[in-house]
């Protein structure tokens, strides 16, 4: 049996009291596996940072418990927990050199100075910053400070590394480069990473599993592909990528699939999870990603539509198409093949939704 790196059991966190009480987390249950790259993804105020701070020990839960490799963390101060944090603004100690910053955790643990020097050297090498040991933090660029913050948190060899939006202060190019580096670092060190972000691309590209959070609750916990392909509810579908939400009626079932009607259009949808309770004739909510829709010649699709708008963004072309029944759909077409003439606004086209590309939502 493998133990989980972190188990969160029924955790509630409320700030303030009485009429001013704000619920930050509500009955959170989740398990993070050893050596996993786990991401807490959600908009600001969803409780993801609060959960991270509870694990680090900066805050205490009002209810529930958190276990680290099977051991209770309750009552342990942050300095007694074998987890380290990479802070959003790096929080490097400005009065210490880079080496002193990286060695700080080991020094506080009482490691002898020869061993500290060795480890600091290793860490500088790990983040490819060997020649910067004697500098001060303010002599480094944002990206370099970011790496030192990582090295400092990894130096004491924590059982779990917590990362609180570590890339939010970096520019886009650097952020993308850091994704690869961080993923690589996680594989090399074999340490469990808990990563907090509001950036879905960041979450998708690095994570083994993602917990999508909103309003203090976990909305869905799955691998990135599952989150994108099989969103469970409207929030997840909307938050991750672009989506068309379609109101439909379940007409009948066919094998695994659900045959639904949206106006004049028939859609063959995949059931989401736990949809055995659905009955024929029930109103349901479908989600379809814009790139799954296909534009055809008029009359050849499942439904005819008028192109309202066409937007060229280089890699793709976005269309907004109005179907005959007041239904407006977003379509995304990859710019991969030469088209004689892409549909322009005002054109009449056919639209089809390939079987199984629509998924039924829970709400």
């Amino acid at each position: 049996m493998t133990t989980n790196a972190i188990a969160v059991n029924g955790v509630d966190k409320v700030y303030g009291s009485g009429a001013n009480a704000v619920t930050a987390l509500q009955n959170i249950h989740l398990e993070i596996k050893d050596q996993e790259f786990f991401t807490l993804l959600g908009p600001s105020g969803c409780g993801k940072t609060t959960l991270l701070r509870l694990i680090a020990g900066f805050e205490q839960p009002n209810q529930g418990e958190i276990l680290l490799f099977g051991e209770h963390l309750e009552g342990l101060e942050p300095n007694q927990r074998p987890v380290n944090t990479v802070f959003q603004n790096y929080s490097l100690f400005p009065h210490m050199t880079i080496s002193e910053n990286i060695g700080f955790g080991l020094k506080m643990q009482g490691v002898d100075s020869a061993q500290i020097n060795t480890t600091v050297g290793e860490m500088l090498e790990l983040v490819k910053m060997q020649e910067y040991g004697s500098r001060k933090p303010n002599q480094l660029s944002g990206g370099q400070q970011q790496r030192i913050a990582l090295a400092r948190a990894l130096a004491p060899k924590p059982k779990v590394l917590l990362l609180d939006e570590p890339f939010s202060a970096l520019d886009l190019k650097l952020r993308q480069a850091m994704r690869h580096e961080l993923k690589q670092l996680q594989k090399e060190t074999g340490i469990t990473f808990v990563f907090v972000t509001h950036d879905q691309e960041e979450a998708m590209s690095m994570s083994d599993r993602i917990a999508v959070m909103s309003q203090g609750k976990v909305q869905q916990l799955d691998a990135p592909e599952t989150i994108y392909e099989m969103p469970e509810n409207r929030f997840v579908a909307n938050f991750i990528g672009d989506v068309n939400l379609i109101e439909a009626t379940l007409t009948r079932r066919h094998n695994e699939n659900l045959i639904c009607a949206a106006g004049a259009m028939e859609i063959i949808a995949k059931p989401g999870r736990s949809h055995s309770t659905l009955v024929d004739g029930q109103n349901i909510q479908l989600a379809v990603r814009p790139e799954k829709l296909q534009i055809t010649e008029i009359g050849e699709g499942a439904i005819d539509a008028i192109v309202l708008d066409s937007m060229y963004i280089g890699t793709d072309r976005f269309f907004t198409a109005q179907c005959s029944n007041d239904l407006v759909l977003e379509v995304r077409m990859q710019n991969s093949h030469l088209q004689e003439r892409p549909p322009a606004s005002g054109d009449r086209v056919g639209l089809s939704i390939p079987p199984g590309s629509a998924v039924v939502l829970n709400d």
């Binding site: 680090a56 101060e77 944090t85 959003q88 100690f93 700080f104 506080m108």
Partner: protein, 273 residues
């Protein structure tokens, strides 16, 4: 046509007026001090009539045992008052900056209040207090009084420094296995140092310079430099007074200069952008 549009009329530029005014202002501020210093090097025993350059008044002042004693007294008072008041101010700032507690706002106000109370009122109050508890007046009473009024001056820069400090640094310290005391010693204190030094220097200058409170609570034989200068001037203005005042001025200026040098050194070390 184009010329009249593109050439600014220099004389009308309000910035130039401001510049002229600021020069006048500096003259107004520093001319008296310049005169004081220049005439301290005047050979003539009538202070206002220039004859030739001489340092004899400095020699005279420094060989005057009363002046020597006054300088030593002033420095003794200032050193003790600076150290004790800075210590109190640092502790107060640390407590007042902790997470919110009952009476935090009031406590902040109470610490800073002495800055607003008229000094003469504080002086009379201090004297009455010493009289009431029958505390003997002397150097000790001056030191105690100075400690009290130096605290808010030392407190201000320390609090400002604390307020500008990134609170997550303490969290980072705790996260990296430092206990509360280690966080204070290795993180908070070094970062607070420029504020503490600034507070101490401010307290030192205020103490060396104080006249009213010192006048009230000084006992016999406990004459500080400002008190001595005042007693001299009652016997007539001599260039010796100019010399002694210049010395006092230099003590203050060197304290401020020391602060500048220290803060310039620490500034670039302690700011992360």
């Amino acid at each position: 046509m184009a010329k009249s549009m593109n050439t600014p009329k220099k004389t009308r530029n309000p910035i130039n007026w401001l510049k002229a005014w600021s020069h006048l202002f500096f003259l107004y501020l520093y001319a008296p001090i310049a005169v004081l210093i220049i005439y301290s090097f005047n050979d003539n025993r009538i202070a206002q009539v220039w004859t030739e350059f001489s340092t004899k008044w400095y020699v005279k002042a420094f060989t005057n045992e009363d002046i020597q004693r006054a300088i030593v007294n002033s420095l003794k008072v200032a050193f003790v008052a600076t150290i004790v008041s800075t210590l109190f101010a640092t502790m107060a700032a640390l407590v007042l900056f902790r997470p919110k507690f009952r009476g935090q706002v009031i406590s902040n106000a109470i610490i800073s209040l002495p800055l607003l109370v008229p000094e003469i009122a504080t002086a009379v109050a201090t004297l009455s207090f010493f009289a009431a508890i029958k505390f003997p007046l002397g150097l000790t009473s001056i030191i105690i009084a100075h400690i009290v009024f130096c605290i808010p001056f030392a407190f201000m820069p320390i609090r400002a420094r604390l307020a500008g400090m990134d609170q997550t640094l303490q969290e980072a310290g705790k996260d990296l296995y430092a206990n509360e005391w280690q966080v204070f010693y290795y993180v908070t204190l070094p970062m607070l140092k420029p504020g503490i030094i600034a507070g101490a220097i401010l307290a030192f200058i205020i103490s060396v310079d104080d006249f009213i409170i010192s006048l009230m609570v000084a006992g016999a034989g406990a004459t500080t430099l400002p008190l001595y200068i005042y007693s001299m001037i009652r016997l007539g203005v001599s260039p010796e007074i100019n010399a002694v005042s210049t010395v006092l001025f230099c003590i203050s200026v060197s304290a401020i200069a020391a602060y500048w040098l220290i803060s310039r050194q620490t500034e670039d070390k302690t700011h992360v952008h």
